[in-house]
């Protein structure tokens, strides 16, 4: 088990201004696959480097299985690491690259080569053992890097954007394979990525980072359906969540979100504390939680179709307020069968209990905690 407690990392010894990681707490269970996801500069790579021991935290504690490892050298941490650039040793053959960590442990050459061969079989690169890294394709180099990281049977596997140099198609294959190997070996794995699709697909839990702090740490479906704040909600999802500026009001005993273009009545089971009334909020709803409805439906909103994009699996429809009062465009997803063209007037409605309300006075905290 890995525990990070109040980790702070400052570069150049500058106070506050240079905090790459700012009070980070994280727990990772044995055998778990965890992704650190966030925009560039969010501190995810710095966190990984501290786990590897290549950087020392300014303050805070890193524990492996309950033991403090802050000052343990990388070589003594029993970790395997795959770098974004693969970082293969160019002067060594693939066999020697994979056997390198074993040879550094004073394992006899014969045995090290034997184990390198076994590992290479798992990654299906045993036919490349005599080549030099420069003679391999990008995908093959990536496999060699994986094999090198795994050959020493590490307790923890660290992956730093391991797939960002692969083409889209190969990425999918490699992704599945990494997941399969990780399951089979049961090695605790931490992946750093900026690709949300990759993070959500591959990991048991995802930690979303921004500004050196964890925004939310949860399984993928929970992050997607129950974002704790505006950052998580807007960062995840493609096409992104619709966010409309509004205000919470009490009207005739009902709680209502009032926006420039529409009023949305909160259902009875989603009533909020009275203290929230009058607050400025962002009303958020994902494109696939909006449906086109009939002109008689309850809580319908009249909109004008601005643009229809064909995504292959469906259509992405962008609608605007026909009166021009709402300056936000709303995106919604429909099936291919929907006959809709730009210029049409349509009625839309929000699927029940799929909306979110983010408190703009409280760093965009989600006021609704669905459970």
């Amino acid at each position: 088990m890995i525990t990070l407690r109040n980790i702070v990392k400052e570069y150049d010894g500058k106070q506050d201004s240079g905090r790459a990681v700012d009070g980070l707490n994280l727990e990772i269970n044995k055998g778990e696959f965890v992704a650190l996801l966030g925009p560039s500069g969010c501190g995810k790579t710095t966190t990984l480097m501290m786990l590897a021991g290549l950087l020392k935290p300014t303050s805070g504690e890193i524990l492996f299985n309950g033991k403090l490892v802050n000052h343990v050298e990388p070589k003594d941490r029993n970790i395997g690491m795959v770098f974004q650039s693969y970082a293969l040793y160019p002067h060594l053959s693939v066999r020697d690259n994979i056997a390198f960590p074993l040879r550094e442990r004073k394992i006899p050459k014969q045995e090290a080569y034997e184990r390198a061969k076994e590992t290479s079989k798992i990654l299906q690169i045993d036919h490349l053992l005599d080549r030099k890294p420069s003679q391999l394709s990008g995908g093959q180099q990536q496999r060699v890097a994986m094999a090198r990281a795994l050959s020493k049977n590490p307790e923890i596997l660290l992956l730093d954007e391991p797939m960002s140099n692969l083409d889209a198609r190969l990425k999918l294959d490699v992704r599945d394979e990494i997941r399969k190997i990780q399951r089979n070996l049961g090695v605790t794995t931490i992946i750093v990525t900026h690709d949300q699709e990759e993070a959500l697909a591959i990991s048991d839990r995802v930690a979303i980072l921004n500004g050196g702090q964890i925004q939310q740490y949860a399984p993928p479906h929970e992050l997607f359906n129950h974002p704790v704040n505006l950052f998580v909600a807007s960062f995840l999802g493609n096409p992104p969540m619709n966010l409309v500026q509004g205000e919470l009001r009490e009207m005739n005993g009902n709680q209502v979100v009032v926006t420039e273009g529409f009023e949305y009545l909160l259902p009875a089971d989603r009533r909020l504390d009275k203290a929230h009334m009058g607050k400025s909020v962002k009303f958020g709803i994902r494109p696939h939680d909006i449906a086109i409805c009939s002109p008689t439906d309850h809580q319908r909103i009249k909109m004008k179709v601005d643009l229809v994009e064909h995504l292959g699996s469906g259509k992405l429809v962008k609608v605007i307020d026909p009166l021009g009062k709402l300056d936000t465009m709303i995106r919604l997803l429909t099936g291919n069968e929907a006959e809709i063209e730009s210029g049409d007037e349509v009625y839309i409605k929000f699927k029940e209990n799929k909306f979110h309300l983010f408190d703009m006075n409280d760093n965009g905290r989600n006021l609704l905690q669905y459970k």
Binding site: K75, S85, K152
Partner: protein
């Protein structure tokens, strides 16, 4: 005639015209060494320096073979010292964060651009004080001091090119910092080490000024100094045949060395790390 062949013809004519004087000089060089100009006959008389000490017009120099040995020992010693000092120094400048790194780098750059010859009188007096005049230690000290800043600067460039990932990978794979340097970084910068070795060797092989200044015994000279002794006598009687013959003998190893090292440089491959 098409325009491309015309273009080619022009380029070739142009290049030939400009290379001709150089080729002519080289031919003259060979002829001067191997011909007796008064008789116009081919002769190897000029190469008698292989077997007996050189002596003409008041110039008396020892037999060449001990001088050759001096040259080789001196040159390889210089290469060894410069590589052993400049490689770790350059690593430190490139990779370590220590106090005064930037100012030391600036000083290094200043030393590199500074014409060392202007310091030579002071250097001489210091060596006299240290009792190092007319010793190889003195020459080595001055030579190495003069050339190290440049070597370190070049080597630093090579270390800067090595991605941090490679070094980190080695450290994760069980290396200490020093072992990562030895096992992974040094092989990575091998072309650089090759380059500075060549520069060092050529510099040392061609060094005559320090020998002229600091060495008074003719039998302690190296080939370059030996050659310079032939041309700097007051009476100005030059034995061109002898000078070119010894010059030819002096140049030959360099040509061989060049062909040999060029092959090494061609073999060097730098792969396995994208985003180098």
């Amino acid at each position: 005639m098409s325009t491309s062949t015309l273009k080619k013809l022009l380029v070739h004519t142009y290049m030939t015209l400009f290379t001709l004087p150089i080729i002519a000089m080289i031919i003259w060089y060979f002829l001067a060494a191997t011909m007796n100009f008064t008789t116009g006959q081919f002769s190897i008389d000029n190469f008698s320096f292989f077997t007996e000490p050189v002596e003409y017009a008041g110039v008396k120099l020892p037999l060449i073979w001990p001088i050759v040995l001096n040259t080789l020992v001196y040159s390889f010693l210089i290469v060894l010292i410069e590589v052993c000092i400049s490689v770790p120094t350059a690593y430190a400048f490139s990779r370590l964060d220590f106090k005064g790194r930037v100012s030391a780098m600036k000083f290094l750059f200043l030393m590199r651009s500074f014409p060392g010859i202007t310091l030579i009188i002071a250097t001489f007096f210091i060596l006299v004080q240290m009792n190092l005049v007319n010793t190889y230690t003195g020459v080595l000290l001055v030579a190495v001091t003069g050339s190290l800043p440049g070597r370190v600067y070049i080597m630093k460039g090579f270390f800067d090119e090595v991605p941090w990932d490679i070094e980190w990978a080695a450290m994760v794979d069980g290396c200490t910092r020093y072992r990562a340097f030895k096992k992974v970084l040094v092989p990575f910068v091998l072309p650089g080490i090759g380059a500075i070795s060549v520069f060092s060797f050529l510099g040392a092989y061609g060094e005559w000024f320090l020998f002229k200044l600091l060495i008074f015994n003719d039998d302690m000279l190296t080939l370059a100094g030996y050659l310079s002794k032939l041309v700097t006598k007051e009476d100005q009687i030059m034995n061109y045949g002898l000078i070119t013959a010894i010059g030819l003998f002096y140049t030959l190893p360099i040509i061989l060395f060049y062909i040999f090292t060029q092959k090494i440089f061609m073999k060097v491959n730098l792969g396995g790390a994208k985003q180098v």
